[in-house]
């Protein structure tokens, strides 16, 4: 269940953004990604989640193990909270959505249409989706956006519980979640632009 990344280079829009990135994420551990805006944290998470190909390097232990949460939550406004969660649960082949509702205090909202939720409530629903995937590696891109302090605490508790069960998490965030986590500063891995006279197949 260990996620091993070795000598990874990734590109956005044909331009290399990060290179030479290596790290290991053990079960039960969390890793916080830090770095300035536009450095390529989202690209890194999307690459690890298999949504886009890496330029070079190896990613081991990611296949079908990753639950990915992006900026948008994939919530349908005309479905109720329960229906939204139940849909993702059955896509990922799990049944029980009650623990997820509990963990993010969504029980009172269960019957509401997702379109009527506030931004923070929607975000909680989006994060609750992580629990119903049953996947061991969570990848979260700025998960605390629009969450209030209590909700951030709920989220930190959920991550802690997930780690306690042998899961792991890779989180791009600037907020201190109070987790015992290593921090990976991606700034130093910024890709150097290729030499200008190297006019090859990639036009750079």
């Amino acid at each position: 269940m260990t996620l091993t990344v070795s000598d990874l280079s990734i590109a956005r829009g044909g331009l290399p953004v990060l290179e030479g990135l290596s790290f290991v994420l053990e079960p039960g551990r969390a890793l916080i990604l830090r770095g300035p805006n536009g450095i390529g944290k989202t690209t890194l998470l999307r690459t690890l989640a298999g949504l886009q190909p890496a330029l070079t390097g190896r990613i081991e232990g990611a296949e079908d193990r990753i639950a990915y949460a992006a900026h948008s939550d994939g919530i349908k406004p005309t479905l109720s909270v329960t229906e939204n969660l139940a849909f993702w649960a059955s896509v990922f082949g799990t049944r029980d959505i009650a623990p997820a509702l509990d963990a993010f205090a969504l029980n009172d909202l269960a019957g509401r249409f997702a379109g009527n939720l506030s931004a923070g409530q929607k975000r909680r629903l989006g994060l609750a989706r992580m629990l119903v995937t049953g996947r061991p590696i969570w990848m979260l891109d700025e998960p605390t956006v629009s969450l209030d302090r209590d909700a951030v605490a709920l989220f930190a508790d959920a991550v802690r519980a997930h780690l306690g069960q042998g899961g792991s998490a890779l989180i791009a965030t600037h907020i201190d979640l109070g987790l015992e986590a290593e921090v990976l500063e991606v700034g130093p891995y910024k890709a150097a632009p290729p030499p200008l006279d190297d006019f090859d197949g990639g036009f750079l």
């Binding site: 331009l15 632009p193 006019f199 036009f203």
Partner: protein
């Protein structure tokens, strides 16, 4: 050292390097332009002024020197786009994708010439500018496929995404264009005469018409090659500029 097969392959694929492609085609282009226009001039002048009138169709038959080569090239352009699209999808050579992009408007022009000359020819022959004849209809459909292909290229910002999507469209479009061809044949049997060129001597046009036609076809082919080389060069430079701008933006981002 004897040259192995892989070495040969490498020398062919080395033209997929934009720099080498540009250098080579720039040396070839002047020759190609001259040859293309020479062949076109000879073929068309010979065809229009130095061939006898057809006993049935009179002098109207001479439009074949425009109609047949352009129709031939309209189809072959699409085939060339299909091949270069496949090369891009399999080997990821950017020049290949750009050549397909460069060829499409040329193909549109050939298709339009074929359609317009067909209409002008059809007027005295069939008494109508347009008939829903299978061959004419197929070319109209081919024209629509070209339009969609070019529109998709224009609509997408990211060049690699655009190359991928248009290549798949070209593949799928080829299958459906072929299906349409048979569907249209089935739908209407048509007025159009058989193919003007075929290996079967009996059905072919007479030799007096045939020789200038071959020269005109050679002219069209050379013109096509020259235009595609020229336009691919333009696309490569545009792509290079785009890449340099993106690189500049990325470095500005780092400075902040």
């Amino acid at each position: 050292m004897p040259m192995s097969r892989t070495d040969k392959a490498n020398t062919f694929w080395s033209y997929a390097n934009p720099k080498k492609f540009l250098a080579t085609t720039e040396r070839m282009l002047p020759v190609l332009w001259v040859l293309a226009f020479a062949c076109l001039a000879i073929g068309l002048v010979w065809g229009f002024f130095f061939t006898p009138d057809d006993y049935r169709q009179g002098s109207t038959v001479k439009i074949i020197y425009l109609h047949v080569p352009s129709a031939l090239m309209a189809i072959n352009t699409w085939l060339m786009m299909l091949v270069t699209s496949l090369i891009w999808l399999i080997r990821r050579h950017h020049v290949s994708a750009l050549a397909a992009r460069a060829a499409a408007p040329v193909g549109i022009a050939f298709t339009l010439i074929a359609l317009v000359t067909g209409a002008i020819w059809g007027q005295p022959m069939w008494g109508t500018w347009w008939a829903w004849d299978p061959r004419l209809t197929s070319f109209l459909i081919l024209f629509l496929f070209y339009l969609g292909y070019v529109a998709l290229w224009e609509a997408i910002d990211d060049p690699d995404t655009a190359a991928d999507l248009t290549s798949v469209l070209c593949l799928v479009g080829s299958v459906f264009a072929l299906l349409s061809r048979y569907a249209v044949n089935f739908w209407n049997q048509g007025l159009h005469q058989g193919a003007s060129l075929s290996l079967d001597k009996e059905t072919n046009v007479a030799d007096v018409f045939y020789q200038p036609l071959l020269v005109a076809i050679a002219g069209f082919v050379l013109l096509f090659v020259a235009l595609v080389f020229y336009r691919t060069g333009t696309e490569i430079r545009a792509r290079r500029i785009k890449a340099l701008l993106a690189r500049e933006r990325a470095q500005e981002g780092m400075g902040r």
